[in-house]
């Protein structure tokens, strides 16, 4: 078992970093540790969307590019540092769409160089993606044109789960996108609320909710490790705190003060 800072040290500068969506086990404690370690030039992939984690990493200057279907704080509004960075051009943006990101990871999961996806044609998303390719129906069955999405292999993916066992098996419940992320990524770093001694693979019921340990590079304990986001059946999102972030991050100075307090300050030292 590692600690959170050791996990943060396993994310190299320049890595392509996959982040799960807001409702799916986002490892905020680890994200704060990444900001503390002053990681640089991350290429963020949101799977398929993200909010607070991506926005904080962008605001803290850790990010070179973002590939996303959306970055949003949900009910708290726009992701202010994301919007500012894209408007200013200080972060390179690769717009995508939810199923294209799932598809690109599934291609890596299956070890194929691409997968087809319907829709997309006529969208300016496609028109700005020279890595995506439109082909005529290669089976010649009258299907018409279709888009091929190249495989994406993240260097590192990070998630926070309620539970792991001593063999590194990790509970993911019905958040099956986490399995696909894990299958596709070269390195998977996991923080958990707790460890249990009994194997999660010991019975069929818990095995159904489990990511096998052989996809997991390292696991560290992080109590309340998704806060201020929520963790299903464990704690709700702290909507006041997220709204406070949204307000503070409207300006660079406000963001800096927020990060100083929550990432570098006394509040963070307790993590």
């Amino acid at each position: 078992m590692e600690n959170v800072d050791a996990l943060a040290a396993m994310v190299p500068d320049g890595a392509m970093l996959a982040l799960p969506p807001e409702y799916s086990f986002v490892p905020m404690t680890l994200v704060r540790a990444l900001i503390r370690r002053r990681v640089k030039d991350l290429n963020i992939l949101t799977v398929p969307i993200n909010g607070l984690a991506a926005d904080m990493l962008i605001g803290a200057g850790c990010v070179a590019s973002v590939e996303c279907a959306a970055v949003s704080l949900g009910e708290a509004g726009l992701a202010p540092r994301f919007s500012a960075a894209v408007e200013a051009g200080t972060v390179k943006i690769k717009d995508s769409t939810c199923p294209a990101i799932h598809t690109a990871l599934q291609a890596t999961e299956k070890g194929v160089p691409f997968m087809p996806l319907g829709g997309l044609i006529g969208s300016d998303i496609l028109n700005n993606r020279d890595d995506w390719k439109v082909v005529d129906d290669p089976l010649g069955q009258g299907h018409g044109r279709i888009v091929l999405i190249p495989a994406i292999q993240p260097d590192v993916a990070i998630i926070h789960s309620p539970l792991a066992d001593r063999d590194g098996n990790v509970w993911i419940g019905r958040r099956r996108e986490l399995a696909t992320i894990a299958h596709a990524a070269k390195t998977l770093l996991v923080t958990v609320e707790a460890f249990q001694d009994e194997s999660l693979l010991a019975n069929e019921a818990s095995a159904a909710a489990t990511l096998p340990g052989f996809y997991v590079s390292a696991v560290a304990e992080a109590k309340m490790g998704a806060k201020p986001l929520g963790l299903v059946e464990h704690y709700a999102a702290d909507t006041d705190e997220i709204a406070a972030y949204a307000r503070a991050a409207r300006s660079e100075a406000g963001f800096d003060a927020y990060v100083q307090r929550t990432v570098f300050g006394a509040q963070a030292a307790a993590e």
């Binding site: 969506p21 409702y23 799916s24 799977v47 398929p48 969307i49 996303c68 279907a69 959306a70 970055v71 949003s72 949900g74 009910e75 726009l78 992701a79 994301f82 919007s83 500012a84 894209v86 408007e87 200013a88 051009g89 943006i93 717009d95 995508s96 769409t97 939810c98 199923p99 294209a100 799932h102 599934q106 996806l117 319907g118 829709g119 997309l120 044609i121 006529g122 969208s123 300016d124 998303i125 496609l126 700005n128 299907h143 018409g144 044109r145 279709i146 019905r174 958040r175 099956r176 996108e177 986490l178 399995a179 696909t180 299903v232």
Partner: protein, 245 residues
């Protein structure tokens, strides 16, 4: 019975969901008005259509992760979906990315989400944007997140069918690539719609008024259906429907 704007919009959308072709309605994140409309119709019709509030819990039937709703749409299992837009133009093109010149737009919004796919695969997409202004309804969007119409050599079984705003309801004709005004909200006028729409659209000789909320439906919204809404949108249920979770 008096009613709020949101209650009016809920019942207006609900009327578009009552046909037998609507077996499965999916509603994206943070969409309490379409969500409440779908739950209302399910209640009225005794369990059909199925309703998937994607980030709901008890009301979220998905167990295959984030891709399942897109897969289900690809399988033809989702009949209705809702989309909005920072900008929407007269050919029903949607912009969810930002205004100005891409990529470093003047004002960046979250992004296209699944629109570029769902718009092609769900037969009945209802565009929902309460704000009806020339800022939203533009002659031509700055960025096409999802196109309203497609060439014949592009596989497309889905697309825009209706546009619901606080001012009016329009229907979309894919073949003619144009919206057609269906009805105007009570107390609003055709002139207001024209003044606040930046694109041309067809206008019938007689423009009906969108019905006011039916009393039995308002009652349901403020009681049993409101409780179901509260399961996913507690703040909305409390503030708009007066129902505590």
């Amino acid at each position: 019975m008096t009613y709020s704007r949101d209650e009016f919009l809920i019942t207006a959308i609900a009327r578009l969901l009552e046909g037998d072709d609507v077996r499965h309605v999916a509603v994206g994140a943070a969409s309490p008005i379409p969500g409440a409309a779908a739950l209302l119709v399910r209640n009225l019709k005794g369990g059909s259509p199925r309703v998937a509030l994607i980030h709901g819990k008890a009301t979220n039937p998905f167990t295959d992760g984030g891709r399942e709703i897109f897969d289900a749409a690809g399988q033809g299992r989702i009949d209705v979906f809702f989309l909005g837009g920072v900008q929407i133009d007269g050919e029903a093109n949607l912009n969810l990315v930002g205004t100005g010149t891409y990529p470093n737009v003047d004002k960046r919004f979250p992004g296209s989400f699944g629109s570029a796919y769902m718009y092609f695969t769900v037969p009945k997409v209802i565009l929902f944007r309460p704000e009806h202004t020339r800022r939203v309804f533009v002659p031509k969007v700055d960025f096409i997140s999802a196109p309203g119409v497609s060439d014949p050599d592009v596989e497309r079984r889905g697309g825009p069918k209706y546009l619901v705003t606080e001012l009016c309801i329009m229907a979309f004709d894919s073949a003619r690539r144009r919206f057609r005004l269906e009805s105007v909200s009570p107390g609003r006028t055709l002139e207001e719609v024209l003044d606040n729409t930046g694109f041309e659209f067809d206008i019938p000789d007689v423009v009906p008024e969108t019905p006011t909320p039916e009393e039995d439906r308002l009652s349901l919204l403020r009681s049993s259906v409101g409780l179901e809404v509260a399961d996913t949108y507690p703040a909305f249920a409390r503030d708009v429907l007066g129902v505590a979770a």
